[in-house]
Symmetry: D3
């Protein structure tokens, strides 16, 4: 259950601002499916617009640094953050997105091993309060 | 400051078990530098050995799924988890490792954009308690 | 599903200590509805009593600093912490409480924008390990 | 120590894109002081620009929902998120910002009480896995 | 819903590697019940094997430091981490494990009080950015 | 650096309320040393009093459930939460407290192994979104 209403397509059609974003999501992704995240954001048209513009720029059609990171690598980084943040919805939606972008079972297995290893050593480092080596300093 | 003693090379030389791990770290990485994480773990030889074996298998010399994910992608996933876990030491040491594996400034910029975007949408999704779309279900 | 039993009103009536807290919750809030948090805490009467005393003092009837922060602001701070902690139940219950205290849709939209922005810059700051400016020092 | 270089004013002056953002930060805030967050972001001009535009819109000069939440309330929400995310820099910079916007010692005390209470009940709710009451559902 | 398939016993029987781990789980725990964590890991046999070996060594049959911490104390540490990480599944499975190892209602109540108190003071310490006392330094 | 002033003993002596708490801390712990946490809380006498009363009841002189959990076990639970919450100060102060209550190096090693293992499996469970087994349900 959500803390806000999830907009149906019929409700979306009553707001030109929301409809415009939904149209662009469908056109950009070449798919009729619009997931619940956008249906929840529809309650706040300004936030909906700003979020879609940002997601599109960073994850879907990067114009700033084209090709710096490939789309699948970006999805894995996204899932890693979502996992550490315990965001169930985000893990679900971006694992689906990663699969759609070609994630194989072996890559998923390697991803899980890295995420688990990072979480384990993070905890040990924090429990030991290891000081940063001066060799890692950039300044 | 750490919650445990950080072992100097002289202290390491007094424990054959610890010395053996340090020797393998230096040989595997082809570098004399051993960072503080290992010097803190030296207080617990069994944990030191298990952690090095795991890190080597997952991050340095993957035998299980060779080539599933490239070394730089794995470092980025590692930094993403460490960032979300607020592990300062881990962010420092693995950003240095990523640079050593070829991370460019443009890739770092893209990485930051993805991490920031994931954190922002994670928070919004959680505040809205968006329910998982049935389309994302694997079962 | 919970890791403990949720007490029904019939079960509450068998324990004078638990019944007394439930009576005070109902009288203080002027409502018969007692949410699951208290029904779960009923398994530990001492923790139930201490938690209700604290919540009442801080959130419902502040005696220490009356008027320092208005009730709606305190609910927004509560939801912000709960969101960053990924506490689904807490986000649900305190968003409902905020609405009952007058949260408008525009305020909710602003709240979401601030929470999202804070999460994004938190992540970027952590990934960059920005050192604290001496200007921010109080000592 | 940071994972990137912190740009001095002299270095900023070598990049028109970065200089333009720094000029706008100084003009908007009516202060010559530019804190380290922006000096670290200067390494990534595109991210610097996007972040400043967003922060300005949400925190400094809200155009979308003017007056929905007052500036001090937004800073408190920001600190609450930063506290739960353990972002030391963010807690420092936004506590300073809140003080500049009028935060009193009594309000700070109330804020700490709410943040502490939220963190405590978040942990207890999570340990008990309390299910969401149907009364909190919006759908 | 999971992001991967949960293996039934029939599916397990088609993979000798997975079957071997499931057999050892059942023999070690002296119970036919194998919980969903292992059925999800079955998709990645190498990760399944490594995780079971580690869990067995640390939680079930410690060989390295026998008797250093008793089994119930280790389960409580596990639940504490899982609670702070908001891992619902982990809280459920290890609270059940703790009960199976003798956790009483009074111990659970004490545990909840400590976890809540730690979360509260963690948040206040972070909001105040209290510097570490030199008396706590080990070096 | 802190976001508030740390009170010196001379400053404490100017406030009878703060002095009374400091006196009780010293008498209860049988030590003249008062750590920075209390010197930071001194800015908010009401929060200082409430926090000390709670800490004393839960961690130092439990009256509600005497003997339910031994003092060292409670410190380990506290450090586990503080580690997962990345609270550097809390990890330092409670590791020192645990040592003062008899924590041995072998117990610390076992603790680190459990904390690391819990963090690793938490992350994997979250990335896989493993559903809770009905066998773990209490209701």
């Amino acid at each position: 259950m959500a803390t806000v209403k999830l907009w149906t397509d019929a409700e979306v059609s009553t707001s030109p601002r929301v409809q415009a974003v939904f149209d662009d999501i469908r056109a950009t992704r070449k798919s009729d499916f619009v997931n619940n995240f956008w249906r929840a954001l529809a309650n706040q048209p300004a936030l909906l617009e700003r979020t879609w513009v940002s997601i599109k720029e960073v994850m879907v059609e990067p114009q700033t640094y084209p090709g710096a990171l490939d789309p699948l690598t970006k999805e894995l980084i996204y899932i890693a953050v979502s996992t550490a943040n315990s965001c169930s919805y985000c893990v679900h939606s971006h694992t689906a997105a990663a699969r759609a972008k070609g994630l194989t079972d072996q890559q998923h297995a390697e991803f899980l091993a890295v995420v688990g290893m990072a979480a384990e050593t993070n905890a040990i480092v924090t429990a030991l309060q290891v000081p940063v080596d001066p060799e890692f300093n950039v300044e």
